[in-house]
Amino acid sequence: MQKIPINLAQPGMVLEKPAVKENGQVLLAAGATLTEGIISQLEKKGIKTIVVQGEPLDMEGLTSNPSFEKRAERLEHLFRYYQNDPVMQKIKKFLQYYFRQKALISAGGQKDS
């Protein structure tokens, strides 16, 4: 899933989490498919960000929440002090596998734009 600013939302994207106003009011449930009309409605009602299924956008540098593929890559850097530690390396490999699986599942769930 990805958190994206509303102005980058596109028709066909599906909400992973409900669109909620700051006061807690739910405007649109998870699972809803976005249309032009819905997107502008949400914008009008003050929604700034939404969380959509899959990873349809390249948010490199725009978010503190990187894509799953990016996370898998980062692990090399994060585990660098423990290059000679077999236990830590095993854990790293497991986590890399985990994130790459998540990336695949995300890609599979994406709609064609």
Binding site: L62, T63, R80
Partner: protein, 278 residues
């Protein structure tokens, strides 16, 4: 080294004023002005800030109130302190004179760790997940104290981290002879915090030493590790902490449970992630 430790301890315990981030204080200050606000709402906001949470727990566990070392959640503390006292704590809390991004990063990391602790505790079927959340929130309090009371040592540690590209915790050990977990231990004793918080805060880097509440230390240990894997906030370095394999046994976590935790964290962490302006 021993002298340095004693000196440092004296300075740590002499702490008078613990400041926090301006945005947090602003939010809470606004809340307490509202006559209709509930304690739950105030608790929610205070639970996101390690300094306010620490102050609240320190006050409610003071011998003056009559029941030291008993209270370890913000909700309970607020019920027992009452509105006037809470307001007093907030009014008397100041903000950092000089704010920098590393401080914001530290707050984000603590919040991430609080969240992760809660998730892990729930998945491990532990009772009272809020207690683990508090331990996660406060696990790096020692770093904040060092910022305020031991600024020169802190700068030295930061420089060593940059120079040798080593984890912050190891740099602390090299420069000071002790880590932020030792500072936590001093504070927890001095402030009469409950034993389970003590074990979570003092032993999350030395799991074997937690004799009475090994689960708390284990949860915080794993939460800290995972918060770093997901790179939530900044705790002094961009590295993972060393994971002690015993956590899985202590918390009875199977591999699939571990994956469930990771799934849940993907979900939770996206909530607190932010988007950089274009």
């Amino acid at each position: 080294m021993e002298d340095l430790r004693l000196e440092a301890k004296k300075k740590v315990l002499a702490i008078k004023d613990l400041p926090t981030l301006p945005q947090v204080l602003e939010e809470v200050s606004k809340l307490v002005e509202d006559p209709n606000v509930s304690t739950e709402k105030i608790a929610q906001v205070i639970s996101k800030d390690q300094v306010l949470s620490a102050k609240v727990l320190k006050m409610v566990n003071s011998p003056i109130y009559g029941f030291p070392r008993r209270i370890s959640t913000i909700q309970h503390a607020l019920v027992l302190l009452g509105f006037n006292v809470i307001k007093g704590i907030i009014i008397s809390t100041s903000v950092f004179d000089i704010m920098n991004t590393s401080m914001v990063g530290l707050w984000e990391h603590s919040l991430g760790c609080a969240l992760a602790s809660s998730v892990i505790a729930k998945k491990a079927n532990l009772k009272d997940p809020e207690e683990y959340s508090v331990a996660g929130l406060l696990h790096d309090l020692g770093k904040v104290i060092a910022l305020v009371q031991l600024p020169e040592l802190k700068t030295e540690v930061e420089e060593l981290v940059k120079k040798e590209d080593i984890p912050y915790y190891l740099a602390e050990k090299k420069v000071m002879g002790f880590g932020h977990d030792r500072i936590n231990a001093w504070l927890v004793d001095y402030w009469n915090l409950p034993l389970r918080l003590k074990e979570g805060l003092a032993w999350h880097h030395q799991l074997g030493m937690a004799k009475h509440y090994p689960e708390v230390a284990a949860v915080v240990h794993l939460a800290d590790f995972l918060t770093r894997v997901f790179e939530i906030g900044f705790a002094g370095d961009d590295q993972v902490s060393k994971l002690d394999g015993r956590v899985f046994k202590i918390l009875k976590l199977s591999l699939s449970k571990f994956e469930e935790i990771l799934d849940e964290l993907c979900d939770e962490f996206i909530e607190i992630s932010d988007l950089r302006p274009d």
